[in-house]
Point group: C2
Chain length 466, copies 2
Amino acid sequence: MPYFDAASSAPLHPVARQALLAALDEGWADPARLYREGRRARLLLDAAREAAAEAVGCRPDELVFTPSGTRAVHEGIAGALAGRRRAGRHLVVSAVEHSSVLHAAAAHEADGGTVTEVPVDRMGRVAPGAYAAALREAPDGVALACLQSANHEVGTLQPVAEAAEECAAAGVPLLVDAAQSLGWGPAAGKWSLLTASAHKWGGPAGVGLLVVRKGVRFRTASPADERESGRSPGFENLPAIVAAAASLRAVRAEATAEAERLRGLVDRIRARVPALVPEVEVVGDPQRRLPHLVTFSCLYVDGEALLHELDRAEFSVSSGSSCTSSTLTPSHVLRAMGVLSEGNVRVSLPRGTAEAEVDRFLEVLPGVVAEVRERLGAPRPAGAEASAPAPEPELVVDSLGKRCPIPVIELAKVIGDVPVGGVVTVLSDDEAARLDIPAWCEMRGQTYEGERPAERGVAYRVRRRD
Amino acid sequence: MPYFDAASSAPLHPVARQALLAALDEGWADPARLYREGRRARLLLDAAREAAAEAVGCRPDELVFTPSGTRAVHEGIAGALAGRRRAGRHLVVSAVEHSSVLHAAAAHEADGGTVTEVPVDRMGRVAPGAYAAALREAPDGVALACLQSANHEVGTLQPVAEAAEECAAAGVPLLVDAAQSLGWGPAAGKWSLLTASAHKWGGPAGVGLLVVRKGVRFRTASPADERESGRSPGFENLPAIVAAAASLRAVRAEATAEAERLRGLVDRIRARVPALVPEVEVVGDPQRRLPHLVTFSCLYVDGEALLHELDRAEFSVSSGSSCTSSTLTPSHVLRAMGVLSEGNVRVSLPRGTAEAEVDRFLEVLPGVVAEVRERLGAPRPAGAEASAPAPEPELVVDSLGKRCPIPVIELAKVIGDVPVGGVVTVLSDDEAARLDIPAWCEMRGQTYEGERPAERGVAYRVRRRD
């Protein structure tokens, strides 16, 4: 049963399992105690810290274990902001950070701080010089900047080394969220803080890493605690920490070969999906990307129905479509990139994924997409439209109350009725339409003329170009 | 090898190990995802929450899993204080709470809040009516009160049900830290919030419980997160959560019989230690106490040396003596009780402790204590003092720069030199002396006349009574 959602949580690496079992027997006692069980636990903890620090490329005393990647991010950002409070209260993040970073930024704003979101291009990549510009134009002294090493939804690698240089030149520490990439290799450049999450590389749940370079001002926001240099309160989750460190070392040993193999499989998906499925946009940087992750969006497809059908066909994938989110808004990453969000599928291959599984996915996908489109009454693929009935001079499509992808399907159905050069207006109150109608226009060579508030919802104007 | 420090961390219960292994295979995926691996993880999480809630005696939607008991305490206190900010900024705690509670209280004070510490008696127990009095006398509106179900250092049970009633009458929520007792049974009374820690009952590290009753005002202090009702951010540590819930159910099934058995063994220690070892004070309530825990302090003994010798004899115990703490201050619990802290030993028996292990401990202990006393040049047991040299009218013992238990040993050595009714002054800069000199006076029937600052350190005056 092919599980293609490693970017959410990777299956446990065999080394992690083995180390966890051993540490359950040897590492259940309190490492702060002086008796033999405590000393044994302390040795395991010290060894795990050294192994993790070596993989990160830092000193062991710069690294603490946290209960999750999310907590590492929350506490890293809060601690760095508090430590640099005198420098100012401005925070710079990219628009495509993980939600944990954006939530920490929102908490900072709620607390009276200010935040700049650095935009990305259509590949999801921050432009060189963008961090320097954000630092220059900040309304207040900048306390901290954050940039992910690689995007978790589209796989695009970020120019971390360049951003770190730009930050260093401005005297601002850079926190790198390396959650998606640490299993593949250390983060580049001279960052100041780094966070990661063990269950993303095949380690167990319950372990994050927070690295704070010596000399970086840091003041822990949580109540005092003697464990983990005072930076991560609570009894250490030692068996999981041991398993996390052991599996990080193990995945690193396999990383080069496995990255090459998975890159080949992802290249196959990137090349074949647009050939097999009409009206697909593969998103994210085709070159500078994570080896195991590819994302594409299918026009006229309901993401939730697509995931459900793929699950029935035994493929587990995730989606940034609005209908798959609890808030019914499309992924902030796809939104920041300005790409299509409807019918979105993220495939992230765990280590060891068999070629045959990928091939079967490519076999199954076209039928599944076609079935979902059929069910929704989507228009036939481009160039195969039925001949149009009598045109109207100024067409209005009322899609109020209808959810993604229906507004775009209705737009596509009537565009043939509009004379070339004529305009169609789509009324929609679905948040995804704001992203998907312009994206559809770009994909189909139509002219998007903008939006304006309507009596109910928003009116989106599209001019037929051909 | 007898491990007698269950109150620090209990060895993993076999059911916890078994459940953890099963959940490693079934529960590594993201329970928020809709595909089969995610649904399977969600089922495990829901079942664990129901089992834990049943053991606590609350609704499943009132309980969230946190990464540790410490985090449950920190986040429970911060959330309750934030939720009741309008009611006031005063926090009431007992003086013998776990350090996680006191650290959260200190953080609240640093943030501008106020705190009352409710004192305890020589048994370590809060007096009935003490919470009502603290609420009445609070300088500001009281947002929250905290009381442990049982003390972690001396085992004394607290009057939680009474305190909950006193708090309810004042309209103040009571948070009960049930870390030491939840494995033995649910917390009594109508508390509002409850915290616990799985590795204290034989569950794995990495899991705490935070229960917030419906209707209790609560505002999570950490950044937004969709997991665990927004009260505990980060990817769920699912295998450990499953193991925690399964082991809680398992230890509860054995609790009545095992409590009775361990209570018998602890009674034996409580009765035999003072008979076998001279100059010992057994502390904590002899009746209203945890079944598996007993604490005693040995005069003229260095706690660290005692622990070291017991470890050599293969007994793992802990201590509240200043010399075993990283801050070189005696346990705040012993200090609040006003009992002797030097040569302190806490024995907390894990489930399944064999009678023979306890007997062997009682065999070994007298020799170990005698050896440590011998090495320190401690006076012979009471009534066996050597005849004194010529007395001086006003004796001063300079113990500056000497650590616990040396100042008390030097005091004991010269007290025979002081004429009955005469005074000896001990100069000491060791924090433990403040507690141990008065405690020694009480044990030995001497009159403690108080302290005053000296040119260096503190001068402690003791009048010879007999």
